[in-house]
């Protein structure tokens, strides 16, 4: 069975190479039959990688420990869901998943464009198939996921307990889809550069694919944060680790692109900039893999160091050089159609927003690479940790928040100053008043205060945007308020979906700013003893100690009282998996809209336990904000209801 997997990957490797070459020469020589053959080859690559993936899944499910990969990441006692999730628990499986997703996307792109973009498609196919070939190359020649032992171990080593969390089922695949999704826009950008068809068509397709990739990247990052929060047991969800940065950078660059693309669509400006953003968002996905695999940067998640990282670097540099050469060749054709008309215009606020987003991306890149740079230049390894990122990114982030509030107030091309000030007055007054109230209440931290003032500002401008829009529809079209609101959103999906995303971002900001109020205490309790922490009382009731089939669990039962009312029973645990040597801490969290009570069982003895207790305010709003961002993106992605009347109406902002 395993050979089937290997040979399928091998076949996919040759076919993707064939497809890439023949698509390129087919369109160059304008030979339609060659292009058609390349398309069939792309479908076949998808078929063979699907076979390979199913072979691996089959081997996992049947626990065929003769395959090294299966033996390393699963064991007999592992629940079925995690056994399947072990597909991407290791490097080899991740590569297979990446290649498979890429081939799926290539097949979708080919199918979608079978009747349109015929000039671009062969080049897009060349790019996608080249990247697929790169991944299949790694699997065939560097790390074969189907490698076997010449004996059959009775049991596998099992999955790292940290990975045995529902987060494992959703976070990695979502992030992978996001990563892979960014390859498609890159393909279109390269195709546009090669053909010189640099106008509306490619930008329209690219935008749609980027928003899909962005959706998955957002979801993937959010899920990752949630996972870290409930599983890693240090009370936080983001530590600016190189691995996290690697998934944050493509996201932030894609965000910049999604904003700046509007300027190109509306005003024909920023063409070079958009291409650069697309190229870099793709390169960042490779870069992330490079830094995590090469062992170049000391990360807490030290991945298995291997030559793989360096192969990625070579591929990255090659992609960078090719894209930049193509870009420079086309520079004369990428002149802006228009000039910036006024500084008080949507364009300029978008420009500034892009500057800030790219600034964030650059800061993260710089901070991630700083240890290497300092070692190369000064000979000492200097690291920068979360304090650096927080110090630099907080002010830039607040600047972005401010723009988010300003932008809806101004129109394209130009707004008159007096009109702007009139609009600006109510939200800004409210923001200042809100900040004043918070100051009185006792929030004295500068950034926190500014952040909440800006959040109020943005919320009010967003509210007015919906309110006036609905009222206008109501008075112009004589629609009822509900219907007017509904039509407002449905007919202007991009604009109002975007506002919904912004609303989610505000919620995220509200939650992040509350981090400054986190409280933390360590306490040793005897049985029956009470411990007060703010308005909470924690009573230690009992400690149980029991073995299960695969692990040994020590669990403390705690009663939680809030102002004398019993609100919850929390059971923080320490578990020792039989196949693993290290214990795993399972935290217990009592979540309310106001704050999370986060309890870690740090140590235990005969009649006592030691707890670490944290109160993290407003954490739940981070997850709510994430969901709202996702919903907003879904509104933007919603297909047109009246698509049948004319497909070209899509993407038109409807009145």
């Amino acid at each position: 069975m395993t050979e089937i997997g290997y040979y399928s990957v091998l076949t996919a490797f040759f076919l993707s190479g064939y497809s890439a070459l023949i698509a390129f020469f087919g369109i160059r020589g304008r030979k339609g039959n060659l292009v058609a053959s390349a398309e069939n080859a792309a479908y076949a690559v998808f078929g063979f990688l699907t076979i390979a993936s199913f072979v691996l899944i089959y081997a996992l499910v049947t626990r065929d420990f003769q395959i090294e990969y299966v033996a390393r990441y699963t064991s007999n006692g592992l629940p079925m869901t995690y056994t399947i999730a072990a597909f991407y628990a290791g490097q080899k499986g991740s590569l297979l998943l990446w290649g498979w997703l890429l081939s799926i996307f290539a097949a979708i792109v080919t199918f979608q464009n079978r009747k349109k973009n015929r000039e671009l498609l062969p080049y897009v196919l060349t790019v996608l198939m080249t990247v697929t070939m790169f991944f299949t190359f790694l699997m065939v020649f560097v790390t074969n996921p189907f490698e076997t032992f010449n004996y059959r171990p009775p049991d596998g080593q099992g999955l790292n307990p940290l990975l045995q969390n529902p987060g494992m089922l959703f976070h990695p695949p979502t992030l992978f889809i996001g990563y892979v999704g960014l390859t498609v826009p890159f393909g279109f950008a390269i195709a546009a550069l090669i053909t010189g068809r640099l106008d509306a068509v490619w930008i329209k397709t690219t935008r749609k694919w980027t928003i899909v990739a962005w959706f998955f990247l957002t979801a993937g990052n959010m899920l990752g944060m949630e996972w870290a929060y409930v599983e890693l047991g240090w009370g936080g969800y983001w530590a600016w680790d190189p691995v996290e940065n690697a998934s944050f950078m493509p996201w932030i660059i894609a965000t910049a692109y999604l904003h700046s693309v509007m300027i190109q669509e509306k005003r024909g400006m920023l063409k070079v900039w958009n291409i650069v953003l697309i190229i870099f968002s793709f390169l960042m996905t490779l870069f992330g893999t490079f830094i995590t695999r090469s062992g170049l940067i000391a990360s807490v998640h030290s991945f298995g160091e291997s030559s793989l990282g360096w192969i990625f670097l070579i591929f990255l540099i090659a992609s960078l050089l090719i894209s930049l050469t193509l870009l420079i060749r086309r520079l004369p054709q990428l002149k802006s159609k228009n000039q910036l008309d006024s500084f008080l215009s949507k364009e300029s606020s978008f420009l500034y927003n892009n500057l800030l987003l790219v600034g964030i991306a650059f800061t993260v890149l710089w901070g991630t690479l700083f240890p290497i740079i300092s070692e190369a230049i000064r000979g000492v390894k200097i690291t920068v940790g979360p304090p650096f990122f927080n110090a630099v990114i907080t002010p830039i982030g607040l600047g972005l928040l401010f723009l988010m509030g300003i932008c809806p107030l101004i129109a394209w091309r130009r707004s008159s100053v007096s009109n702007f000030l009139k609009k600006f007055f109510i939200p800004s007054t409210a923001a200042v008043a809100g900040a004043f109230v918070l100051f009185i209440v006792g929030i004295r931290l500068f950034y926190t205060l500014i952040s909440y003032a800006l959040c109020i500002f943005v919320l009010i401008t967003l509210f007015f945007e919906f309110f006036y829009g609905t009222r206008t529809r109501h008075s112009v079209f004589k629609e009822g308020y509900h219907k007017a609101l509904w039509n407002l959103v449905v007919r202007n999906k991009r604009r109002y979906g975007g506002y919904v995303v912004h609303f989610g971002v505000v919620l995220v900001f509200i939650s992040l700013s509350a981090n400054t109020f986190n409280l933390e205490k360590q306490i040793t309790l005897k049985k029956g003893e009470l411990f007060s922490f703010k308005e909470y009382k924690i009573r230690y009731d009992s400690l149980v100690n029991y073995p299960t089939a695969i692990k040994h669990v020590v669990a403390a039962t705690l009663s939680i009282f809030n102002n004398e009312h019993k609100v919850a029973v929390l059971v923080p645990e320490k578990t020792l998996f039989k196949s693993q040597e290290q214990p795993t801490t399972e935290v217990a969290i009592h979540t309310t809209l106001k704050e999370d009570l986060y309890v870690i069982l740090a140590g235990y003895g005969e009649d006592w336990i030691t707890l670490k207790v944290l109160i993290n305010p407003l954490v739940v709003w981070l997850w709510i904000g994430g969901v709202v961002m996702g919903l907003g993106t879904l509104i933007v992605m919603l297909p047109d209801r009246r698509g049948q009347s004319e497909s070209k109406r899509k993407s038109v902002v409807r009145f």
Binding site: A298, F303, Q339, T363, K381, T524
Partner: protein, 127 residues
């Protein structure tokens, strides 16, 4: 048109220099040296405040853990030298004798290191 270009240029320049300053100040205020155990010992003591990061291995038989007070004592070593490390707090799950760890904390002289953070290089299987 000329005037506008100058304006754009100035605004971008101002923004970029703000970025530059933020990054510069951020690094100046928050940078920590990443040293090996012998480098820590060899380094002249400038102050008892300076936070450094040290990488090394946990000496196998040296770990003492007071679960009640959450105090951890262990020796960390590299090829040449060793440090006596003191730490208070929750010990990360993957901390284990023999394993490579990164510590953040303050060197107090005479081989004594007060760690504020322990970051085990978890041989994370999620590769």
């Amino acid at each position: 048109m000329k005037k506008r270009k100058v304006k754009i240029f100035i605004i971008s320049l101002v923004t970029l220099s703000i970025f530059g300053y933020l990054i510069y100040a951020g690094i100046r205020d928050t940078m920590t040296y990443y040293l090996t155990v012998s480098e820590v010992l060899a380094k002249p003591l400038q102050s008892f405040e300076e936070v450094v990061r040290v990488g090394g291995n946990v000496y196998a038989d040296s770990v003492k853990w007071d679960a009640k007070d959450l105090r951890l004592y262990f020796k960390m070593k590299d090829e040449k030298a060793s440090l006596n490390v003191e730490y208070r707090g929750v010990v990360p799950d993957s901390f284990k004798p023999g394993r490579e760890v990164i510590l953040e904390g303050v060197y107090r002289g005479e081989g004594k290191f007060i760690a504020t953070t322990i970051m085990p290089k978890c041989a994370s299987k999620y590769e």
